[in-house]
Symmetry: C2
Subunit: 477 residues, 2 copies
């Protein structure tokens, strides 16, 4: 099992700890702050609620979290050491050599610095790279890597195994890439507030009601490529390039950073968001981020593509009571409704994914569908036996009741936390020719596979199958 | 019926036309470009696919679209005239007085200008306001309003009725608010490309894998408030304020706009996105934007809150064949699956929303749930009778088969495009005490209402109800 050492356990260090832990790494934290354990526990509670909700498959079992008074002990035998101490070069110059002395020769040493260049970090001969993440680290995939090319390449491979998106930057500059853009906006936004043009809330609305939504899925240049229309990017540049020389930004200049500006921003921010605590804001943010990344899974754009690729690498489940496990997952908050439990439609959503997995098992997979064949569901009967809540772990088994000719009769059992039968979903499917949209016989490979499954499953009990709505348990059909 | 005149039918004018049309306004377009009709048709095709997919309720019937050679004819009797001609002040100074001469005295005259101030637009005594939208206008809610306070207030009310979010800016400045932020980022991004730090694709990834997702739902200041943690915004400012004086942006300076820079950006953009046509990119963007805004509906954040508020104002459906219509909607692309039709789970999602609507009709509404009472579904039986595709219009009727005591037995019919019965969903629900999570008797008001519904519905036919999975039509139970 892999081990990560987290040096500095604030919001960023805690986010790294959660990302590693929930991907099955053991994590050792070192932080002199007596509050570190409480703070990490809070970040971890948020992460347990949000990160698994991005996936339609269970993450590996969580790793072990330990706290070390001695930094060297935390670092010992770690595969990855992540430094997230406060942003002063003096402190980094004390911590990084100590890390390197205690770490094995192959350990990756990453720094979360948002501003310093690797050449600055490594003035004392250390081998750290910049591995700059974005808050919340357990949800946002981006990590900017800067430094030695071969270490960055190894680091990138490791980060992909924990579901992150490493962006390796070829030339070191102050603040790397993303924070340069952020700093540009930040300076302009401070001018807008200082000059009384807009409040912090109005500026936030001007972002999230408009270009923020564009950027979340395509970024800046691809968005402008579309704006250029059929004539393309050069046309867009010709149209908007001249604005570069217009006085459209205040950024030739920098607002003076003084108490007055701090008070102005802080009091406007209180008016805007003060009705919610930081914890409530974090959860709102996480629910939104999870929901939007889940929406991006469909097209595979941006973070949605990262989650899909990572999910495909997660290990396959096995059997339960002689039946194949066709789904294991954690229930996202977005699947619950006003009754405080999983909405009725998501029982079927989960079962539908289990059907898809069963299709792969019998060879009716994506290639089969691409060749023009598939199964269409013609009936479902769902019995809701117990409530399921956000965060519960679902395990689904699939039994084949019948599978001759065009008809395929499946019986899914939805287990909550592996011990309570929370629902059954009985499905009838018909094999279909995708070009005519009419029923047809399955291909020989699928037929043969089904025959084997039926032989194993048909004699097993299937209590609850074959009933109509409202029929009492045990009642005759 | 309201009328909008669209003066200038490019991407922005076309987006306005689509936004008005799909919200039931008649639209007259005036544009000397012989391609205008084709271009508007393409924008409209995108909009018809995307805008209704944001809503779980049908938009009003589409208005009538006409093209006018004579601008005065287009403007005549319009409630709103939107000027979206190319961005030169000379041209605006020719067009705006002509609009005002042809428009009624109460018509709102909005300009889509991204850069000019109202005082510049109105140098010849016109009364135009800035109404600056964001592409795609049919999906993104933001409109920056600048100008006469009383006209802006009327304009804001009108824009809300077409599902937009008016942001009124108190002081006029070049480029308003959002484009100042965009211009700041654009300048910095051009430096990064020019200096060879990152390609257009890498910059886009640095945005959409990280802060873009944060900004889409909260914007800049609320995000930083969270980063400040428990200590709040003043703490964040103290921590990051000093960076203002560091050389973290190139923005004291402006990159020279020349052919070399244009070629560099255009060729990198081709490498990044050239495998997709502009139409394909637009559809990808729209699918992503719709998916993310739908995700934000859940929490009501940002654009999700705008859609929910607008949806609540859409008119209620009536009856069909003596049964209440409990849902009318268009099917979003995100509800379809690899078989090219609506996924089985979304038949139930749609029916579940119909159940919620029926609950409102019997008084088991949000207030009833808040008082600790609700119905839980214990069984569903779904018969899939025909395929449903993205863009199809669904109408659902709900029949009460039984509603005595704790049990409520519903039968939903899902009609496709109002003429084909595409599915039935038979639901059994039990009345539940939300504190004990056990079944309980409904309150008197709900019982009485149900009795009336049962009296009307129980004797009506309900073909397909009472069946078990795989039972042949007409077969005995």
């Amino acid at each position: 099992m892999k081990k990560a050492a987290i040096i500095g356990g604030g919001v960023i260090g805690g986010g790294w700890a959660a990302r590693f832990l929930l991907n099955g790494w053991n994590v050792a934290v070192s932080d002199p702050d007596p509050q570190a354990e409480r703070k990490i526990a809070e970040v971890l509670a948020n992460a347990r609620r949000a990160l698994p909700a991005l996936y339609d498959r269970a993450l590996p079992p969580e790793g072990r979290l330990t706290f070390c008074d001695d930094m060297a002990e935390a670092v010992k035998d770690a595969d990855w050491v992540q430094e997230s101490v406060p942003e002063t070069l003096d402190l980094k110059h004390r911590v990084l050599p100590a890390i390197q002395a205690a770490a094995g020769p192959l350990a990756i040493i990453g720094s979360s610095t948002s501003g310093f260049k690797p050449s600055e970090l490594n003035m004392q001969g250390t081998r750290a790279i910049v591995a700059h993440p974005f808050n919340p680290v357990y949800l946002l995939p981006l990590v900017e890597l800067v430094g030695d090319a071969s270490i960055c390449a190894q680091a990138a491979d490791m980060l992909r195994t924990i579901g992150m998106y490493p962006l390796t930057i070829r030339k070191e500059i102050d603040a790397h890439v993303a924070d340069r853009l952020l700093e540009a906006v930040w300076r302009e936004a401070l001018w807008l507030v200082k000059d009384g043009i807009a409040t912090t809330e109005e500026i936030d609305e001007s972002i999230r009601m408009g270009f923020g939504i564009r950027w979340a899925q395509m970024g800046l240049f691809e968005t402008y490529r579309i704006a250029g229309g059929e004539a393309g990017m050069a046309h867009f540049m010709a149209q908007f390039g001249p604005a570069l020389s217009w006085p459209w930004t205040k950024l030739m200049d920098v607002p003076e950073f003084n108490d007055e500006l701090v008070d102005l921003i802080a009091s406007q921010s209180d008016t805007q968001s003060g009705h919610l605590s930081i914890r409530e804001l974090e959860r709102l943010r996480d629910d939104n981020v999870v929901g939007m990344i889940r929406a991006l899974r469909r097209t595979g754009s941006g973070a949605g593509g990262v989650v899909r690729a990572h999910e495909a690498s997660l290990s396959e489940p096995g059997e339960r009571e002689g039946l194949p496990i066709t789904a294991t997952r954690q229930v996202p908050v977005s699947w619950t409704d006003y009754n405080g439990h999983m909405n009725e439609a998501y029982y079927l959503e989960a079962a539908s994914q289990a059907t898809d997995r069963f299709m792969e098992l019998i060879g009716a997979d994506a290639a089969y569908v691409a060749s023009g064949h598939s199964y269409f569901t013609v009936e479902n009967h769902i019995r809701y036996l117990d409530e399921i809540h956000a965060g519960d772990r679902l395990t689904i088994t699939t039994q084949v009741l019948a599978g001759q000719g065009k008809r395929l009769h499946l019986f899914h059992r939805l287990w909550r936390d592996n011990d309570t039968l929370a629902a059954t979903v009985e499905s009838m499917l018909l094999h279909t020719d995708l070009s005519t949209r009419r029923t047809s016989e399955p291909r020989a490979g699928v037929s043969k596979a089904l025959t084997r499954w039926v032989a194993r499953h048909a004699e097993m009990p299937a209590e609850g199958a074959g009933r109509s709505v409202g029929e009492r348990p045990g009642g005759a059909g």
